[in-house]
């Protein structure tokens, strides 16, 4: 009614529409990405300027660049590097030299993320079960180590730990107010960055996360007044979709035949790309109505025979 009268503000309309589309997301039957990797796909990302090119790095040592608009594909080959160093090194992309070295972790750092709100704020998760926040401007860079139990111990206390086991994923929310972390204790936690406290959002027991590799949850774009969703790849070859704030499980996306290793969000079309260790990249898209109608016409009808 409001829509018909045109009194819904465009922003609200957009938000609602977006939320609905995200809720509708499912495995896209029509588009598929050609299988190029001959090893597991470890990470994927979509470039931000155009939202058009998809990069994927595979265990076979190749990086593939896909053009999502047409099926053209370029290939570059680099040598994959891995580090088991307990320090975080910052590289200057212009000079290619190490500029900073942040020390404080006592285990391998598996995951880092920059805050979208403060450009000097960095979060890192490590095998020593801690999640640390860094201010790279300072020499004594570590701001605090997040604590699971919200105890009153000092922020850099040795006793603080964010998870009970290895932390392999940290992710800022798009507004930079919260931090999502996930670890091998099969838990995902949401931290309030103003207070540095655990929000105690309970995401249930469905998550399976046991592999020592970077596994970053994906957070859908935030907007006021509509729920934000977080997509967490689970080891049982599915992607779990939670409501970010109240932690309820919204949907379980199944269909991948390999462990999902990375997720990427394509903002323009609200699509999710998932990389699996079955060498495949899958496209998850909201159901498009006209397309559905055409396809489902065959499959939809029941074919009970009269004799039954």
């Amino acid at each position: 009614m409001q829509m018909e009268l045109g009194i819904v503000r465009p922003a609200v309309f957009q938000r609602r529409y977006l939320a609905r589309r995200i809720l509708d997301i499912t495995l896209d039957p029509s588009t598929s990405i050609q299988r190029e990797h001959v090893g597991a796909v470890n990470t994927i990302d979509i470039e931000e300027a155009e939202g058009r090119y998809l990069l994927s790095g595979g265990g076979d040592g190749n990086i593939h660049v896909y053009d999502l608009e047409d099926s053209e594909r370029k290939e570059r080959r680099i040598i994959k590097t891995a580090s088991a160093d307990p320090r975080i090194r910052l590289c200057d992309l212009k000079s290619g030299a190490f500029t900073h070295s942040l020390s404080g972790h006592r285990g391998t750092v598996l995951s880092v993320d920059w805050s979208p709100r403060h450009e000097y704020l960095l979060a890192s998760g490590s095998t020593d079960t801690t999640v640390r926040l860094w201010d790279i401007r300072k020499s004594a860079a570590c701001l605090c180590s997040l604590d699971l139990h919200n105890s009153n111990s000092p922020p850099l206390s040795e006793a603080n730990s964010a998870h009970t086991r290895t932390v392999n994923g940290v992710m800022f929310t798009p507004d930079g107010l919260h931090l999502v972390t996930t670890g091998h204790d099969d838990k995902m936690r949401l931290w309030d960055l103003y207070t540095g406290q655990n929000t105690l959002a309970n995401y249930g027991t469905m998550i399976r996360n046991q592999f020592v590799s970077n596994l970053t949850p994906l957070i859908s774009p935030m907007s006021m007044g509509s729920p934000t969703f977080v997509f967490h790849p689970s080891d049982d070859r599915s992607i779990l979709m939670f409501d970010l704030m109240d932690g309820s499980l919204v949907k379980r996306l199944t269909g991948s035949y390999g462990r999902v290793t990375a997720l990427a969000w394509r903002p323009r079309t609200q699509e999710i790309y998932s990389a699996g260790n079955d060498h495949d990249i899958l496209v998850w898209a909201p159901k498009s109505v006209d397309h559905e109608n055409a396809l489902k016409a065959i499959a939809d009808q029941d074919t009970w025979s009269d004799s039954d």
Binding site: L27, P29, T254, Y257, D308
Partner: protein
């Protein structure tokens, strides 16, 4: 989608049905039960959902047979229900895990069914991918996964769903139809080309026949034929004119049940050596050579042509025409113009076949066949004439007496006792080819001969016999007496030697010692000891086991007798001792064991026993029938009875507390049998060689013996070490 309301009753039904379907373990589902499941599912989507859940539970059972049946049922429902498809597709990777064993899952035993399940799931994935792959991405992904990661070969799969099967059938039919069409067209072309050739050939052969064989409609030829053959068959024989065209009378005989009556001409009768005109004639046409056309110098050209044509017909035209007919028969009947064309071709082919067959048989009648392909010189048909030899009459008559007949004689023998006297039989007797008349005379002659001979020979033999009998009469007497008491033994090697006093060996004189008979002492005789041994008879001893092992027959508490058959000792009732029909001991037992065991029964039991024995004794005196019936009942007593008895005696609980004593016979039949299921018991370890060995090796006795050995060895070692310690 309508709200999912669970109808409890339907759900209960469903779960029962699915359990029974999946637990039968049969290779094929019971169509009746499947239909029931479908009809329940058809009612509402909630039922479909319930079915899906139940099936997934069954699919997770660790038994391949259950999984196989579940997969089959899933396949049935998948192609029916949209809701079911949605549900299954969401869990398709789980489905593949459980049926194909992807993601490091292994399928449970038995292996045979695991393999079957896997194949079925792969085929299903293949077919579903073809049909629903575009809509359900998960199936397509699963298909890709199987193809890419598991390297599953999707070619040459047996179609499993109905649609795929019917599609395949249609494709096959289409293919065979096309093949038929192709062959039909080919044959059409061939007929157009070759029909002319064949007809030419046939015409050629016909003209050859015209030259060789006289036609009946030609009066002159006909009369010539009859005049020519008047010498031996002068008669008005009523044979079909058309038959006469190809066939000629070859011989005749007199027979009582023939068909063609003679009509007149006593002269003919006379000349044909027929006793009377009242005989009936059968005209036997010689099947081997019905047309009496000889190949000669004049017509050899014609025969050569005929042979060529014949060869062409047999080798080429006949198979070709048959093939045409075959193809034409199988070809599709179409309507319209094609139909007319088809009919024309078929008619042409049939005509050709008839023509070719005629020509073939005609030329075979003329003696042209594949054996006589090369003309006169290699033809052995005229050797028949040389088979006739000069033989004296007595010899032939003797032959005839034995039932032999000359080769060229196709007639049946005349009846032994002719009713009418033969005219001119004396003359005919001289003719060696004549049989009918000579038979009786031959018999007579033979009689005369034997009687004449018997005058001489029988006299001599008799006299000889007399002489021998007189000379050996005494021997005969003693021989008879000896035979009367001589033992009769079956033949064996010793009989060859039994009367030998000595036996020579190695008569060649080259070698003294023999490999088997031993070294001679220069006398070339087998030693006495060896000879004695050779005279011995081999006998194989087979000890006879007691055939019937007696039953224990201890009276049990249920009124029956113990059925156990043991040689010496019944494990429950002590030593087996002779007992009467009621279990009473006939002889006192030698050992105390039995009595002790009996004493263990309590007093009530004993009283009961005695009462029953008394009752049985009284009933046995009154009627035999009841006793026999009780014996019958006794036969049906089972192990459980014995066990009950023993348990009772030992104060233990009965195994089956429900059963009442005294109704044991009925209770056994009442026992419910579990419904037979073809499920293989997988909890039982397979009977492998290892398991069998382990049973022996790991048994306590063998372990003990090994341990003992080791202990012995160890003690010996210590003893030895003590021994070796010097000087201490």
């Amino acid at each position: 989608m309508q709200p999912l309301q669970l109808n409890l009753e339907a759900r209960q039904n469903l779960s029962d049905l699915i359990l029974t379907i999946t637990k039968t373990g049969d290779l094929y589902l019971d169509p009746e039960q499947v239909k029931q499941v479908k009809s329940i599912c058809k009612k509402s989507d909630a039922n479909v959902k319930a079915t899906y859940e139940l099936l997934m539970i069954q699919l997770q059972r660790k038994h391949a047979q259950i999984r196989y049946s579940s997969t089959q049922l899933i396949a049935e429902l998948f192609q029916r229900s949209h809701v079911f498809r949605e549900l299954l597709v969401a869990d398709y990777s789980i489905f593949l895990q459980l049926t194909v064993g992807i993601h490091q899952n292994t399928l449970p035993p038995p292996i045979l069914f695991a393999e079957k399940t896997k194949q079925l799931a792969i085929s299903l994935t293949n077919e579903w991918n073809a049909k629903y792959g575009a809509v359900y991405k998960q199936i397509a992904l699963g298909y890709e996964f199987l193809r890419y990661h598991l390297k599953v070969d999707f070619t040459n799969l047996v179609p499993v769903t109905e649609e795929a099967r019917s599609a395949e059938q249609r494709a096959q039919e289409e293919m065979s139809r096309r093949l038929r069409q192709k062959r039909f067209e080919k044959v059409t072309r061939e007929i157009e080309e070759k029909a002319e050739d064949i007809q030419d050939n046939l015409r050629k052969m016909d003209s050859c026949f015209d030259i060789l064989v006289p036609k009946l409609d030609d009066e002159a030829v006909l009369s010539a034929v009859f005049n020519a053959s008047a010498g031996n068959n002068h008669g008005d024989v009523s044979v079909d004119a058309e038959e006469m065209e190809n066939e000629e009378i070859e011989g005749e005989g007199s027979n009582a049940d023939s068909e063609t009556p003679m009509q007149h001409d006593p002269l003919g009768v006379f000349e044909n050596a027929l006793g009377s005109n009242r005989y009936k004639l059968t005209i036997n046409v010689n099947k081997d050579n019905p047309v009496d056309v000889e190949e000669s110098e004049e017509n050899s050209e014609v025969f050569t042509t005929l042979r060529e044509c014949y060869r062409l017909i047999v080798k080429k035209h006949w198979p070709m025409v048959m093939e045409w007919l075959d193809v034409l028969m199988k070809a599709d009947r179409e309507s319209g113009e094609r139909r007319q064309e088809y009919d024309r071709l078929l008619k042409l082919a049939i005509d050709l076949k008839k023509g070719v067959a005629d020509a073939k048989s005609k030329s075979e009648d003329l003696g042209v066949n594949m054996d006589t392909m090369y003309g006169l010189h290699e033809n052995n048909s005229d050797e028949d004439d040389e088979e006739f030899e000069q033989v004296d009459i007595s010899a032939t008559s003797a032959d005839k007496k034995k039932g032999k007949q000359p080769k060229n004689d196709t007639q049946k023998l005349a009846s032994a006792n002719p009713v009418f006297a033969m005219h001119g039989a004396e003359i005919l007797e001289d003719d060696p080819t004549y049989v009918g008349g000579t038979r009786t005379t031959a018999v007579r002659m033979a009689k005369q001969l034997t009687t004449a001979k018997s005058d001489n020979s029988s006299a001599t033999t008799r006299s000889a016999a007399y002489e021998s009998s007189t000379s050996t009469a005494e021997d005969e007497e003693s021989r008879k007496a000896l035979l009367a008491r001589a033992p009769v033994v079956p033949w064996d090697d010793d009989l060859a030697l039994w009367d030998k006093k000595e036996m020579a060996f190695n008569t060649s004189g080259l070698e003294f010692s023999h490999r088997f008979l031993g070294v001679g002492d220069g006398s070339n005789l087998v030693s006495q000891a060896t000879l004695d041994r050779m005279k011995m008879r081999t006998r194989i001893y087979n000890p006879e086991l007691p055939k019937v092992i007696k039953a224990c027959r201890f009276p049990m508490s249920n009124g029956k007798l113990c059925m156990r058959r043991d040689l010496v000792r019944c494990p429950y009732h002590g030593p087996v001792i002779p007992r009467d029909e009621f279990g009473q001991i006939q002889l006192p037992p030698e050992e105390g064991g039995f009595i002790q065991e009996e004493n263990m029964l309590d007093d009530v039991e004993e009283a009961d026993l005695i009462n029953r024995a008394v009752a049985a004794a009284s009933s046995s005196s009154s009627s035999f029938g009841t006793r026999s019936s009780s014996r019958l009942q006794k036969d049906t007593s089972t192990w459980e009875d014995i066990e009950d008895d023993v348990h009772q005696a030992l104060g233990l609980q009965k195994i089956e507390p429900k059963r009442k004593r005294g109704q044991a016979g009925g209770a056994a039949s009442k026992k419910k049998k579990k419904p037979a299921s073809a499920l293989i018991n997988i909890s039982k370890p397979p009977d492998s060689a290892r398991a069998r060995l382990l049973k022996h090796v790991a048994s306590k006795a063998s372990k003990d013996s090994v341990e003992q050995d080791q202990r012995g060895e160890r003690s010996e070692l210590t003893r030895n070490s003590r021994l070796n310690r010097w000087g201490s």
